[in-house]
Amino acid sequence: MKALEVKNLSFKYLIGKEKVFENLSLSINKGELVAIIGRNGSGKTTLCNLLRGFIPHLTQGDLEGDILLYDDSILKMDLSDLSDKIGYIFQNPFIQISGIKETVYEEIGFGLENLGVPRDEMIRRIEEIIKLLKIEDLKDKHPAELSGGQRQRVAIASILAMDPEILIIDEPTSQLDPKGTEEIFEIIKILKEQNKTIILVEHKIDLIAEYADRVILLNDKNIVFDGTTSEILSKEDVMSYGTNLPQIAKLGIEYNNKVEKLSKIPSVLEEAVEVFKDKV
C-alpha cells in the first residue's frame, strides 16, 4: 500500500530564483524505510516539508502536481490532520525546542498536550520515550542548558512521544556521538518493525547502508537514483553528486580499480567480510 505519493511535482519558493523540483514523481510504501540523500541544497529538506504539508500550507511557492497521503491530497488537507499522522523531526535541533518549557520532561510532554492526550497516558508515554532514548539523566534539566547532542535527543524524543504512523526525519544525528548515532538508528529500526513509514534524510551514509531499505538520490531538481540500498550505495557515480559512499564501498571500489576485480562491491561490513576473507 502506498503511504505517500508525489505526482509530477514542480516547486519554486516564492523568493527563489530557480525551481527546486521539476516534474518529480515518487511513491513510498507503508512500512518502508527510505533514505533521501544528495548534496546540500539538492532539496532534501524541501521535499520533507512538502511531504509534511508545511509547504504549501506555511511556506508558499509555485507548485504544480500533487502529493497524496494515502489517496488524499496533502495540498487540500488541514495541517492539524496532517500532524496527527506525520511526525517531523527538524534538521536543526537548535530550533526544535519549544523555548517555553522549564524541563526536558515537560518539553517532551508539550506535543502530547497539544494533541490533547489524557494525563495518565501522557505520563506513560513520556516515561517510555525517556527510557527508549536513554535520557533519564536529562529529564530535570532546563532545555536551554543542554549540550548540542543532548538537545538533539530531546527533539527526537518529543516527536516520537506522539507516536505518528509516518515519520519524516531530517538529519537526526548531526550532533550525536558515534554511539548515540547508532542508538538512534536502532530506534529507527524498532519503529520500522512497528510498520511505521519512515523517510530519513541523513549524511551518515555508512549507517544508511546498514539500515535503509531504499535510497533516493536527489540532484538537479529531480531524482537521479532510486533503488535498493545495496544497489545504489555501491555505485562510484554517487560521489559525483556531492554525497559520500560508505567507507566499505569506497574500499571495495578502490580495491576493484587498483588491485583486482571484485565480483561485487560491498556496501556493509558483513558483505566486505565475505569479499575479503580469502584475501587476508
Partner: protein, 267 residues
Amino acid sequence: MNGIKIDNVVFNYPNGFCAIDDVSLEITKGEKIAIIGQNGAGKTTFVKMMNNLLRPTEGTITVDGIDLKELTTAQISKKVGYVFQNPGDQLFNRTVYDEIAYNPRYNKLEESKVKELVEDAAELCGITQYLKSNPYDLPFGLRKFVTIACVIAMGSEYIILDEPTAGQDLDGLVLQSKIIDELIKRNKTVIIITHDMEFVIDNFDRIVVMANKKIVADSTKKEIFWDFEILDKASLKQPYISKLAHDLKMKNYIIDIEGFIAEVKNK
C-alpha cells in the same frame, strides 16, 4: 612559552553543575588537534574557556605564556578564535560581508584592509558569492562556513572549530579539510571538535578524547581507534575500515583504506 597550557581546570555552571573536573592539557603552537568524545562530555565547555567565553572556576589557562585572566575581549580575539557549535549563537549582522567584517571593524582597521580580510576569508570558505546575502537566508551548512570565515578574518592565531562537520555534505567536508590545511600553512593552530571519525582520520594525528568531564586519552589516532576501553568509555566507535580489519583478524592498527589495501597486498 608558546602554546596553550591548561592546568587543573574545573568549571561549574551557574546552576552548580560541574561540567569540567580537573583537566590539564598542552597544545603546541602550529599543531592541529582533534577533540572527540561523548555528547555532554564537556568538550564545548572546555574549549570555550580557551577564549574566555567561560571563565574557569578553578585552575589556570595560559596562551603563549599569558594568563587568560589578564586579557581583554579584544586582545583575546587576536589570540584565540572560537567558531560556535550553533551558528545561530554567533551571527547577528545583516549581510555576510558585515558579519565577517565585524571584528576587523571593531579593531578599527582601515576599510580597505577590512575588505581585504573579508575577501580572503570568504574566498577560503567558498562563500564569496554570498557576501551580500543575509546569513539567515543561507542553509545551515553554509552558515557554518560564514562563522568560520569570521574567525579567519579576525586573524586569531589559535582557531577552535566546534563541530564544523555536522550536517556537511561531501563537498563541505572536502572544503573543510582544505581550510584546515591552509590555516596550518599560515602557521595557525587548529583545534577541532567533531563526531565524524572518518574526518578525524583523514585530517588529524593527535587526538584528545573526553568523557564525563575529563580527558580520558591524548594520543595518536592509531592508538585511540584500537583502544576498545577508551572507545567504549567515550561512546566512540571504531571506523568502519578498522571494524572490518578487526572482523577479519588482520594485524592491528589499520584505520584507513590505504592501510587496509597495503596490508592485503602484503599477503
